[in-house]
Subunit: 467 residues, 2 copies
């Protein structure tokens, strides 16, 4: 980094929030996907104005800017692939205001998402989006990736709960989008354009979130099936009966075995699939609904159905689900976590395709996911040092994407494109669809300084070299 | 229109779907706002490919293109203000598919929104968005304006129910955005960018809508108050109690009098405000909730509360609400219908400001609206031939917008900017916010042919000349 540029940065940010030595920079070189990219400089801004100044400077000197939350991204979102400047957003966390009268939360981007849950629930309110990493991930990162978790079926995705933003644009201007009203049609919906844009269209410096009253009660069941098709029928049966569960999770046999191996939870080792169904709402309503769900699972051919009779039993069902990620992580040094999503009626077919892909490429592939909204999480356990196996992984991942798109689905339900899925964008969007997105990026970020190397494939790029 | 251009159009569209004579063109010169603008030609395309060809041709010859649904727009959305070509979308109505398994509807843009309601409800499903004009307006127009109606508080706006689109871009390419899954983060959210873009960013030729199970039952009450502040307390009290009504409507005294004058419905003539609260869901849940709402209204100081005891009584309460628009229309030849929206806690203050504005400009101003989501509908009854009064109307409208923005709200909750609110965009968005929107428009529509003259103010334009 040129001395004059560094001096300009130091005129904006005090030295104790600027990091230049290798060990510090190394700490910012990775996320929860894989790949390591050293930034040239790491900066911890404290407010919107500092970010605006830094982005303006970056435009003048063509320095890549990489905003970074808690770096739990599974798609390489915050990786500084072109070097440049990492903006560690963790110090922007002064605001977490719950506005009870308007059912809103006003938050800084560095606030932990789980803290919003806690503060809202303390006053009887509820923020439904709940990515698995919500106890550590920041709301800024959640919004930019539009990661949503298990409640999408009933409550919609993260995007549905963001109604206003303060944003630093790629050229350093500070704008406000949307506001504090659920209804707002004044011009284009920049709020929803920026949410899910993976840090390529702007840096969120404040957000207005919509809250809802907290559901009074929850009921949960776990059903096991000897065949995937039966579990598919149970899922469809429940939805067709007019029940909208707050969560409907699926785990395949490989996933069940992984969990039982890691932390025995009493899951049926021989089941080809288990589903967890949770309903929430008024006690009288959900008492009826959970019974109906039980009936429908049995009717679909469940080998067993267990309805949690109390909060302890409910938590023990969820414990098994939450063990999935740690259990899988233990199975090998590298975990490739995908989030291909299909219309829910296609889940049985997608599961079949995933089985074929597992066999064809001889890979350790486990599948779990949010069955209610078709958002599956096929995970491949591998070792990135094994170049021969990584080649097979790459081909398998490519086939998973193809299968999802062929079944009317999408490459990514909630992890984002990042750098890992960029080469597959055209397969889903077509040349023209991708081109409309690029036009927005180019119009807003003419110098290409904001999170460069993400989302858009390089010309001719067909695959990511995983190793 | 040049003969060579006309010949080119005739090579795309058969003559019986092309209209050139004055009387036909006149029928397409107005909408439900006011102002008349004659198009040069009216075309009724029948499919996406025809539209794509026409738009490409329009780009070559710089012909303005105005897509048009049922033209119930209250903001001048479809008006062909620069002449050119009106595309009457009413013939694109072949698709209305309800996909029960995936809880989706796939629809053509010319389908009447009310028909989607009917078809969905016939199989136990539900499409919540319900603009007052839904029995005549088309889904294409509803989507492009993001008009939502009374259920926004509980169910969110129209946008929350659109997950995929087929679109003809401003340069004539056919793209698909989103898809059939609720979760989709593959690139930018073009779906939500186009929904609400008022026909300036693309022409919707197909949409995938999300449906939910139909609520089992509804309960409704009507409460009257001697003061607006009391009704505000009732609204806040209900929401703070953890109840999320499916509708919460407000009518002021001028509105009550207008309805009673037009069609006596037993509304209390002396009340300063009445509110209608409806809850829906499981019978046991809503039986409790409606009692709680009644209590909270009384606690807030209601003069009277009437809970509908059966479906007839429920419908008669709603009949009074639905009489508002016809009642007002009868009061004078010109109705200026606004939709300024404020955070709901600011409704009492906004009502006060509206009273001041009514007195200051000596206008016939009545107020009703969707109190739950802060979306008010101040309506001014006037006569557009009275130039002196129209000047006062214009100043009053300007002050209404200022008040909404000052209270943290927005110019438009659901009617759109169209041409009538364009001059006020900068007041809400700031120079930079507006500029980011313009950059998208310019990048996507370099020849400025799609719905020109809308949304963006002309340089230096401060007001719309209403007459």
């Amino acid at each position: 980094m040129e001395q004059s540029v560094l001096a300009a940065i130091k005129s904006i940010i005090p030295e104790e929030r600027i990091f230049l030595n290798l060990s510090d920079r190394y700490s910012y070189s990775f996320d929860a996907s894989f790949g390591e990219y050293l930034p040239d400089i790491v900066i911890q801004p404290k407010n919107t104005e500092e970010i605006s100044e830094l982005v303006k400077l970056a435009n003048i000197h063509s320095i890549p800017v990489y905003p970074r939350g808690a770096s739990t991204s599974l798609s390489g979102g915050p990786l500084p692939v072109n070097g440049g400047m990492v903006l560690d957003m963790s110090r922007l966390k002064d605001k977490l205001i719950i506005d009870r009268e308007n059912l809103l939360a006003i938050v800084s981007p560095g606030v932990i998402t789980g803290d919003i849950h806690k503060q809202a629930e303390a006053v009887g309110l509820f923020y439904p989006p709940d990515p698995s990493s919500s106890h550590v991930s920041t709301i800024g990162g959640n919004l930019l990736e539009n990661s949503s978790g298990p409640k999408g079926l009933k409550y919609g995705t993260t995007k549905e709960y963001v109604i206003g933003l303060e944003v630093v644009t790629p050229t350093g201007e500070i704008i406000r989008t949307g506001g504090k009203t659920v209804k707002n049609v004044t011009g284009y919906d920049l709020t929803r354009l920026i949410v899910g844009s993976e840090g390529t269209l702007g840096i969120i410096t404040e957000a207005v979130l919509r809250l809802i009253p907290k559901p009074q009660e929850r009921k949960t069941l776990l059903a096991s099936f000897d065949s995937l098709v039966q579990s598919g029928h149970a899922i469809t049966g429940i939805l067709s009966a007019g029940i909208l569960p707050s969560a409907m999770e699926l785990m395949d046999n490989a996933c069940i075995r992984a969990v039982e191996n890691f932390s025995p939870s009493g899951l049926p080792l021989n089941a080809e699939a288990i589903i967890i169904v949770e309903v929430d709402g008024h006690p009288a309503a959900i008492a009826e609904e959970i019974l109906k769900c039980e009936e429908l699972c049995m009717k679909a051919g469940a080998a067993s159905v267990r309805v949690a009779q109390n909060e302890d039993e409910r938590l023990s069902i969820w414990k098994a689900r939450k063990m999935v990620s740690p259990a899988i992580t233990q199975m090998g040094p590298t975990k490739i976590s995908e989030d291909a999503t299909v219309p829910r009626s296609e889940i049985p077919k997608m599961m079949e395709r995933l089985n074929e892909i597992r066999d064809k490429y001889r890979l350790n592939l486990v599948v779990f996911g949010h069955a209610g909204d078709g958002n599956l999480h096929p995970n491949i356990i591998t070792d990135k040092r094994n170049k021969e196996e990584m080649k097979r992984v790459e081909d398998a991942v490519s086939e998973i994407f193809e299968a999802a798109v062929q079944l009317g689905g999408t490459l990514s339900g909630e992890h984002g494109i990042g750098m890992l899925k960029a080469p597959y964008m055209e397969m889903e969007l077509g040349v023209d669809g991708l081109s409309m997105m690029k036009k927005i990026k180019e119009a807003w970020d003419p110098n290409g300084i904001l999170n460069p190397g993400k989302i858009f494939p390089k010309a001719g790029q067909k695959k990511v070299v995983l190793t």
